[in-house]
């Protein structure tokens, strides 16, 4: 008897190269590196969602904040990049998600940071902050301080769903 589709999937997943992270900050950045530059300026431990399909999949093992860009346009369609959807396709990654930070451009009007907003809505977590392009020095400061406070035990007691 040929293996069932479910067994096939389990086999494939079990044999897919995976990499685990307990970083509290997970981000995506395209080859333009805008978001990566912002993360670099935060000077925090972070993990990057793989850009290409052949790279090992990223699995979180601890609560984290997701930081992702929206490239805008197209009336909000296809706003969430396939790499990010794939990352959130893993149950652990959805379970560990505590909040979303969006990068974008207000030129995209009502679709400013729409990917971050959609993920937050879908996963029932807050949008913590939005900023434009690679972020101003003020944005870097706010997010760095904000994240530090966010992860302090007192603040976590309130946040935990």
């Amino acid at each position: 008897m040929p293996p069932t589709a479910l067994a096939d999937r389990q086999y494939a997943e079990a044999h897919e190269p995976l990499v685990f992270t307990d970083s509290k900050l997970v981000f995506f950045s395209s080859v333009s590196e805008n978001t990566a530059r912002f993360v670099e300026k935060l000077q925090m431990d972070s993990a990057r969602i793989p850009l290409h399909a052949h790279e090992p999949k990223l699995i979180t093992t601890a609560p984290y904040i997701l930081l992702i860009p929206t490239y805008g346009g197209e009336r909000g369609k296809r706003s969430i990049l396939p790499q990010i959807m794939k990352f959130l396709g893993y149950e652990e990654n959805r379970k560990n998600l505590r909040g979303v930070i969006g990068a974008g451009n207000t030129n995209f009007g009502e679709f400013y940071c729409i990917a971050a907003k959609r993920i937050a809505e879908k996963c029932n977590v807050p949008v913590l902050y939005t900023f434009e392009l690679m972020g101003t020095p003020e944005d870097v400061l706010r997010v760095r301080e904000g994240l530090e406070t966010f992860w302090t035990p007192a603040s976590q007691k309130q946040q935990k769903p």
Binding site: G73, E91, N107, E121, K122, R142
Partner: protein, 324 residues
């Protein structure tokens, strides 16, 4: 025009099945999906609203739009085209032809606005003004001189500053009217232009940064210094242009904040740090909200008192493969 604009000297059949830079395809698709024409916007619904503007306000609006027409014409017929010979990939060339065409659509859109709202005499008068205004002519000349210059990376710098900075002294006005519930259909059209310019500035800025890869530190520094010098030169001219236009209606100070805010974004598109501190980029919330209706929502959870726990309010979840 006496000088010759360079043409690319080697053309190969473009193969979209062999992609060297994924950004080319991504941006091409964005631009194609964003395609629009002014005829789709019901501008005539603004006729009544136009009639409520004072003579000064009408004159300002006409002048601002002829200024924008000049920049879009420059970018469509010279700017985007001048980038083609130095494209790194054939797909990049194709993207520039798309950008050039859309700039021509933008330039034509202003004429649609004019013919809907103003008389032939008023239109001719505004175009005459545009050829005589010193600051407007100066900004076009500065940019054009780089398009005709020898340095391909400097052309990209000039082009990005035009797309991401120079338009904004003009874009301010329709956003201002929109925030006062005036000329709202015109504002819808301008928002489409603003969206396109964001993709153009992002892409040309990205290609500039690709061009920096592998250059000597000395050359990189030269280009960085050059960017900031050009930004200052253009900025000083923009400030004068702003006073010239907006002083009669008392909006100059807020327009300047909008200039600072967009200058930062232009620099970021080129991969450089923002230059203006937050204290001078605090554009009035009404303008920001006219630009991006949701941007004024409290998305600074960190500074909030805890009552601002905002679950993202999204339009519709319609992205494919989005079920778990």
């Amino acid at each position: 025009m006496s000088e010759k604009i360079q043409l690319t000297n080697k053309v190969e059949a473009i193969n979209w099945n062999r992609i060297q830079d994924e950004k080319d395809v991504e941006v091409w698709n964005r631009l194609v999906n964003n395609f629009w024409l002014p005829e789709k916007v019901p501008l005539s619904n603004d006729i009544q609203s136009w009639a409520t503007l004072t003579e000064d306000e009408k004159l300002l609006t006409m002048r601002v739009f002829t200024g924008l027409t000049l920049l879009d014409t420059l970018q469509g017929t010279v700017g985007a085209v001048s980038l083609i010979p130095d494209a790194i990939t054939p797909h990049e060339e194709a993207v520039y032809t798309n950008i050039a065409f859309m700039e021509s659509v933008h330039a034509k859109s202003y004429s649609s606005i004019f013919s809907t709202l103003a008389s032939t005499k008023e239109i001719d008068e505004a175009f005459r003004w545009s050829t005589e205004n010193v600051n407007l002519q100066k900004k076009a000349q500065i940019i054009e001189s780089y398009y005709h210059g020898e340095d391909p990376l400097k052309r990209k710098i000039a082009s990005t500053l035009l797309e991401s900075f120079l338009f904004y002294s003009g874009f301010y006005l329709p956003m201002h009217w929109s925030s006062h519930a005036k000329l709202t259909n015109t504002a819808d059209l301008i928002r489409l232009i603003i969206r396109d310019e964001a993709v153009h500035g992002y892409y040309i800025g990205y290609k500039f940064q690709k061009g920096l890869e592998g250059l000597s530190e000395e050359r990189k520094q030269e280009l960085k210094d050059y960017t900031f010098e050009l930004m200052f030169e253009l900025y000083e001219n923009e400030v004068q242009y702003t006073h010239d236009l907006y002083d009669p209606v008392g909006l100059s100070e807020d327009v300047k904040k909008f200039l600072h805010y967009n200058a930062n974004k232009a620099l970021m598109n080129l991969g450089y740090e923002a230059m203006f501190p937050a204290t001078v980029t605090d554009v009035s919330p009404a303008i920001l909200s006219a630009l991006s209706p949701n941007a004024d929502e409290n998305h600074d959870f960190f500074s909030g008192s805890g009552s601002s726990y905002v679950i993202g309010k999204a339009v519709n979840t319609e992205d494919e493969d989005w079920d778990f």
